[in-house]
Assembly symmetry: C2
Homo-oligomer: 236 residues x 2
């Protein structure tokens, strides 16, 4: 362990809500699968209220007027369903909580059950992917802290919680127990970074190698501020 003052995390959990983005959850999960082959740990998949499979598509009619049209025209038509292992009520205590993003975030970030669960989490690390940062931000836990989110939802997520010190150009941002990351595939890089920091260099290199994955090592390297400029607030 690089940090000998804390107990190594053993209980990992990934939040699942209708309209989560598949790779936001499954990229990090594959790294955790690799990790589980070398350290003792569990990975819970946590649905909001039932053990029914959770779909990557959010039903349009459940969204508020503010988001309905944008999601309706952009949400993928393909849909997948992943099976949860727990609900918010049955979830074991977590050392690490991972919150994915997706088209369902507007609902999840205004769901009091989800916000209570995240707010009361005693996890030593809370990791967010893409606009999943909007869920964590909605709890107020990021107020006064640096954080990032994806480009396509940047204005919505950041204007929803201006008390956060939003960083526009970042692959991921780490402050205290919070690790927030950029869009979709950035979830793999922030989790790889978290594993390096927490489990040391040897395991930190082995796990992406198992996936034959070359992780981004520089949290500031974010080429997508250019490709998605039109979705970002003008800073000058």
């Amino acid at each position: 362990m690089t940090n000998s003052t804390t107990t190594p995390p053993q209980s990992f959990g990934v939040l699942l809500f209708p309209g989560f983005a598949l790779l936001d959850a499954c990229g990090p999960l594959e790294l955790l699968n690799g990790l589980s082959s070398v350290v003792p740990m569990t990975v819970s998949l946590i649905a909001v209220e039932s053990l029914e499979p959770v779909a990557t598509m959010v039903p349009i009619e459940t969204l508020s007027d503010e988001f309905r049209k944008r999601v309706e025209t952009q949400q993928p038509l393909a849909v997948q369903r992943l099976c949860p292992t727990h609900t918010l009520d049955t979830c074991p205590p977590l050392d690490v909580l991972l919150i994915p993003g997706g088209f369902g975030v507007p609902n999840a970030a205004s769901d009091e059950r989800v916000l209570k669960f995240v707010t009361e989490s005693k996890a030593q690390a809370i990791i967010t992917v893409c606009n999943g940062t909007g869920i964590l931000a909605a709890t107020g836990l990021l107020d006064g802290k640096k954080a990032t989110t994806n480009k396509w939802w940047f204005k919505e997520v950041t204007s929803g919680r201006p008390q956060v010190n939003w960083v526009q150009k970042a692959r991921w941002v780490h402050e205290g127990r919070y690790w927030t990351s950029s869009g979709i595939s950035a979830g793999m890089d922030v989790v790889a970074a978290y594993i390096r920091e927490t489990f040391g260099e040897q395991i930190g290199e082995l796990i992406p190698d198992i996936l034959e994955y070359t992780p981004e090592l520089n949290p500031d390297n974010d080429p997508f501020v250019d490709s998605w400029k039109k979705y970002l607030p003008q800073t000058e």
Copy 2:
């Protein structure tokens, strides 16, 4: 379309078998989800025999002696379950078939139902990820063709079908309708390459951008031949 002589693919399918690797399927699937927001298409998730959720873990007792010990000591303890939409029997005709890898490949590659399904596929493209190439190779369809697979299973997969012209150092290999790729995360790069080739530059750049993913553009760039040297046959 860059190739105006073929109809654009609309029906995509991903094979699911017990012990498939999560990211082998879900990395490509997220690219296909993105594609589905801009072109008309369907994505089927195809289980072998039932619509029960398919687990990423293969039951050790189902493996032959040859593979049992190696899988038992290396298979992740964490497990996820993805819901199929079809079975081999109910699957619609596919334009593109994607075959993931995983610890369950030794079983899938000797399952006559799977081999018959792949052999009879009329898909204009068959894409494999990781040791999923071993399933395609077992049909004989790759005999005399160039192909690649992942490092950790390289010896097993290649010795199982020496009639294939195996390429050790490759992120992916494309010959005819066959696109075979290297380990786990390479599935995203081969599918990104397939999308570029098939749908042209504009869509080919847009889809990885949606995922904020920087795909590898060079099929020969494969740094993992060095990290996994001990699993590879000595070539000199």
